[in-house]
């Protein structure tokens, strides 16, 4: 049996040669470095790799924005696809211009990421393995078992390491604003490190109905604040309150924008 790499390479070749797609976005290993690359038919596809995991959605957006028309293929994991769907809902990418090569993550990868859905809707390569429900996050459970005082102490000690580098925001595929309230004096005091609670809470609320739990924020955080723990809680609640999950269907509206008739609110 072929390795996933080999299978993906074959699929990319098909798209480039048979379907005459001008380019396919994937990861390329070059001189020991791995980074995103748009492969075209002239490229050596053996350089195409799948590891380490790399968020493709923002790269996709940048490429699409850079050329006014034309289609693009992309090797997309579950989180990439969900990110793209959310971005499409928010008018940031045009899904019609993308051809997704669905890559399912392995069990081990899913565990590492605490991923809720380690597979895209259509799997081209790999096998579907079960994800972790957002509420099952061990840290979420542990915190919920504590009282509010203890939770406050925990988050204060975490947030107090924050150096306000905005890394979490910058890598987030669903944080779409150019003008960010976290840089506004009236919402977050300037020149103050660590920033006060609104910095983290406003961001958490802004992505609460969009976060696809890709974990990019936490990976980017230089001081290891467990941001996905905070966001996993809001995803768990979003599911319980509205029976809604971001990133699944581009036609679904966020429950926070609809009436109670359109999306009911379930009591907890």
């Amino acid at each position: 049996m072929n390795t996933p790499e080999v299978e993906i390479r074959e699929r990319v070749r098909q798209l480039l040669d048979d379907d005459r797609l001008p380019g396919v976005l994937g990861l390329r290993a070059e001189h020991g470095h791995v980074g995103p690359h748009v492969f075209n038919s002239a490229d050596d596809l053996t350089a195409l790799v799948l590891e380490p995991r790399y968020g493709m959605a923002l790269v996709c957006q940048a490429i699409l924005d850079g050329s006014p028309k034309g289609r693009l293929g992309v090797v997309a994991r579950g989180c990439d696809e969900r990110a793209l769907i959310e971005m499409a809902k928010l008018g940031q990418v045009d899904l019609a211009r993308l051809v997704l090569i669905g890559l399912a993550c392995s069990e081990q990868q899913a565990r590492e990421c605490m991923c809720t859905r380690p597979y895209p809707r259509r799997i081209d390569v790999g096998e579907k393995v079960a994800g972790v429900a957002p509420g099952d996050d061990a840290r979420v459970q542990q915190l919920l078992a504590q009282d509010v005082q203890a939770r406050l102490a925990f988050w204060q000690s975490e947030f107090n390491r924050c150096i306000k580098c905005y890394g979490c925001r910058n890598v987030c595929p669903v944080c779409i604003c150019d003008a960010c309230v976290l840089e506004e004096m009236c919402w977050v005091e300037r020149g103050k490190i660590p920033p006060e609670l609104p910095f983290h809470l406003i961001r958490a609320y802004h992505i609460a109905d969009k976060c696809i739990l890709c974990g990019a924020c936490e990976s980017a955080c230089p001081v290891d604040i467990p941001l996905t723990t905070l966001y996993a809680l809001s995803q768990a609640r979003l599911k319980e309150l509205f029976d809604y999950e971001p990133g699944l269907d581009v036609t679904q509206k966020s429950p926070l924008t609809t009436t109670l008739e359109e999306t009911p609110l379930h009591e907890l």
Binding site: D65, G91, I176, D178, V181, T257
Partner: protein, 581 residues
Amino acid sequence: MEQTRIGVFVCHCGSNIGGVVDVPAVVEYARALPNVVYAERNLYSCSEAGLSSLKQGIRAQRLNRVIVAACTPRTHEPLFKNACEEAGLNRYLFEFVNIREHCSWIHRKDKEQATEKAKRLIRMGVAKASLLEPQEETESNVIPAVLVIGGGIAGMTAALNLARQGFRAHLVEKQARLGGWLPHINRLCPTDEEAARLIDSVIREAQAHERIILHMPATVQEVSGYIGNFHVTVAEKEGKCTFDVGTIIVATGAEVLQPLGLYGYGRFPNVITQLELEERLRPPPSPSPVNDGGGKRWESTVFINCVGARIPERPYCSRVCCMTSLKNAIRLKKQNPAAQVYVLHRDLMTYGVEFERYYRRAMEAGVRFLRYDIERPPQVVGNGRAEAVVVWDTLRGQERRLPVDAVVLNAPLIPASDNATLSRLLKVPLAESGFFLEAHVKLRPVEFATDGVYVCGTARWPADVSESIAQAYAASAKAAIPMRAGAVTAEAITAFSVPERCMGCGTCVVTCPYQAIELRIANGGHVLSGTEGLQKQVAWVNVVQCKGCGSCVAACPSKAMQQRGFTDQQVLEMISVISGL
């Protein structure tokens, strides 16, 4: 920039405020607040004396923001805003602080704390007032023309009424003739007048009126714009026709359920619908008295009510059918007094004076009534043709077998099949039932939430002729209001977007209950990184449609959306006053 000069006027309201709150102390406090250049107290700020003192203060102190600390804005705000305007100050530079209902009246026992609270409230008011900006109420013109969709009795009534008031009325009817259902009806309940006479005279009036433009057969294909300025495209036989109107009235009517498969309809030739009976009863050349076409007089007729209505898949009552049964049952009795005429019904909906009187007339005429239960519905039995109706009589507690020459099925009005299309075109909602959904069931029965679009007649809900006409007039009145004024103005508490901040995510568009926001490619909008000439869309608020709820503002993640008079800055400033104390 002009220096901010705030004046604070604190009202005693006799002893209502003054008896609890230490007003002189509050005035002293207010005088020392940032940007406050003047403070005074009045026995009654709303009295002539109080108002002239306010105006005097504005002029003499060159105030450019005014605060009145008194009672509730819900009743008195217009009064003070008008006074500001009379003194030459933009009315949106006024801020009301409620220290009566929200302070002195509810804290009568603790004068000291009440005084402190009054100070806090005024300080919050001052904080907000410092950030107030003058606003212009936007006015937009209204084209003095209406589009009426539907040429039935409701549509024609509306078009005629508005034409007579001096407006041009475009009447669009999809069929090749006017009149809707009425030309198919024999006589009308409860007056028994001939439907044809009524509808014919209205059709003649509509055709003759110089300000009514008939589009027929024609359908509305495209509508854009908003109250005052709708652009309409109508598809006619000879191609397309476009015109502009200020208002739109939906009078597209309803359809009647075809009861196929119910009670032997379609199986027995002598099981007919009410509408088919109407056709037979209609004068001439319809055969009279009613017979089955073979010449045999109907000696025994059974009407069945609620055919396909008030059942789980169609739970509503169609309001007008009971009366139709009564009317035609009486008619049959008149034509043949010896005939047996039964009406099988559930609840008999003869509401009001006239219909209840009609019900009694039917009983006097010898029409028999039998109450059936939906759990044990009537059975139409026969062989080749209906021979009898077998039914459980709930009031007698026994089964009856009624021999029949004919069975007449009374089926409900159902929503017109093209409602969904029209709903999309006009961006107005349909209710679950499929009829159009008005802005408020109780107090705005003929308006849509979207300004400038109205609904009447059976498009909204089953209604009889006089109800449809009354509603048509009502819709006309609503349409006439902006058209007579020639312009619409919106209170300047509307939302607005700051294009430089907007990412065009559309959250506001989905959230807005009035479809007042759209995404537009706008100059000065957010330009995509790395591209030239390509622009993303940004939110644009149509202030004429915006009602100022602020739902979009709260939903906007970049705070590109703001609300006049309720900006984030203003509210955060008020909050910081309390937190800083």
